[in-house]
Amino acid sequence: MHFNKRSLITLAVLAAVLAGMYYFFTKRGITYIWHWESIPEMLFYRGGKSAADPSVHLRMGILMIGFMLTLKISITATFFAIIIGTIVGITRLSSEPITRLLSSVYVELIRNTPLLVQIYIIYFFFGSMLRLSAFTAGTAALAIFAGAYVGEIVRAGIQSIHKGQMEASRSLGMSYAQAMRHVILPQAFKRIIPPLAGQFISLIKDSSLVSVIALADLMFQGQQAVARTYYAFEIYFTVAALYLVLTFTLSIATQFIERRLAISD
């Protein structure tokens, strides 16, 4: 795996900040007794499900369980955000005024209200009306939120494709939908990979907000662990590192895909 220069610098800065903080806490008289030794078991431990369970297995600790849920929420929301965003991007350019109006109302509503408020509205209003689980409501809120931004990115991507591509496709007898699917969208998506990746990195981070509806994601489990042990520094550093693992992996995967797709240029 190749790391580019920017990722290396990011890592170096991060290491320097951590070293600085360590120095600050240990050498400058602030007495804080570190409890790093209690972190590993929050990730993985050997033992039974509970104190009463005598079996010995490698099990996920509380933070790892939260991490897996965050991963699941992020992947599901990203999947639906792509679908919503593609539909919105296309309808924003529709020749039907009503369709165009509806999709821009959606985009404006979502982009001009806080995500936190949207999560509460979807969970408490739609969630209780439609009997949605916290997972469904939280994931839906994230997908609907990110979908609006993805829609704008997709629209810009479609508009960046020269209109000669659509004309050539139509003059070969393709329908509008065929031309979109086989000619315009593949080119548009290739072009918008960087802003899309940025959007999905935001989505991973924003997913921490669903902890407010008691969805036991990484953030929620971190808070629980802190409430129980008071090891706030160690736990939140670990939580941050686990979010970094997700976002950093996504950003490296993006670079890899971009390089693969650059072949036809």
Partner: protein, 245 residues
């Protein structure tokens, strides 16, 4: 094959001016005929061509292709366009697909041919335009002349009844114009019905049956290529020809 009656087309520019791109254009083109369209920039040549496959809508008039009124309400436009190939000044190949895939795509999704049959057709056409050895290259790896020959093959693969060329050689470096014109001449000799917008008077002289001169959206003069070389009647035509020859 093509029968245009009193076509009118007006564009409204972004700054709300009205541009008359087609003014009462009527023409009849027989099967197998090669018609060259000449005229100064902005005279409506491209608009005329684009109305023939309805990439552009007319304001009024009637247009019959093979006896079918393509501006009728209940027309399947995609069916009409399958029969009319179009070649553009800037090629408009699909950059994310290889040469072969460019020629395959519409055959498979529009003509519903199976991949094997489509590939055979594609290969024989790529051979015909002399570019089979590049079948796995991407458009960006080809010269302009090569790209335009692929674009012609892509259109021909649909087995169209009519081919439209809009300044197919205008974006090419001089040394590549010849190879594209050769392909077009070959097509003309094989009896393809062609409407060709071009400034290449050599092409007009060699293979065209008729030349029409357009200005300000109107057909100003019409005749054989020879007629235009020897005794064009309108002053405008004379002036235009003196500029391009």
């Amino acid at each position: 094959m093509i029968k245009a009656e009193h076509l009118f087309k007006t564009f409204t520019t972004p700054d709300h001016r009205e541009v008359k791109a087609l003014v009462d254009v009527s023409i009849e083109i027989e099967k197998g005929e090669v018609v060259v369209v000449i005229g100064p920039s902005g005279s409506g040549k491209s608009t005329f061509l684009r109305c023939l496959n309805r990439l552009e809508d007319i304001d009024s008039g009637r247009l019959l292709i093979d006896g079918i009124d393509i501006y009728a309400k209940k027309i399947d436009l995609n069916k009409v366009r399958e029969e009319i190939g179009m070649v553009f000044q800037h090629f408009n190949l699909f950059p994310h697909k290889t040469v072969l895939e460019n020629v395959l795509l519409a055959q498979i999704i529009v003509r519903k041919r199976n991949r094997q049959e489509a590939t055979e057709i594609a290969r024989s056409l790529l051979e015909k335009v002399g570019i089979l050895e590049k079948e796995n290259a991407y458009p960006a790896q080809l010269s302009g002349g090569q790209q335009q020959r692929v674009a012609i093959a892509r259109s021909l693969a649909m087995h169209p009844k009519i081919m439209l060329f809009d300044e197919a050689t205008s974006a090419l470096d001089p040394e590549m114009i010849g190879e594209v014109l050769e392909v077009m001449k070959k097509l003309a000799r094989e009896g393809m019905t062609m409407v060709v917008v071009t400034h290449e008077m050599g092409f007009a002289r060699e293979v065209s049956d008729r030349v029409i001169f357009m200005e300000d959206g109107k057909i100003v003069e019409e005749g054989t290529a020879e007629h235009f070389f020897t005794n064009p009647t309108s002053e405008r035509t004379k002036l235009f020809l003196s500029q391009i020859l």
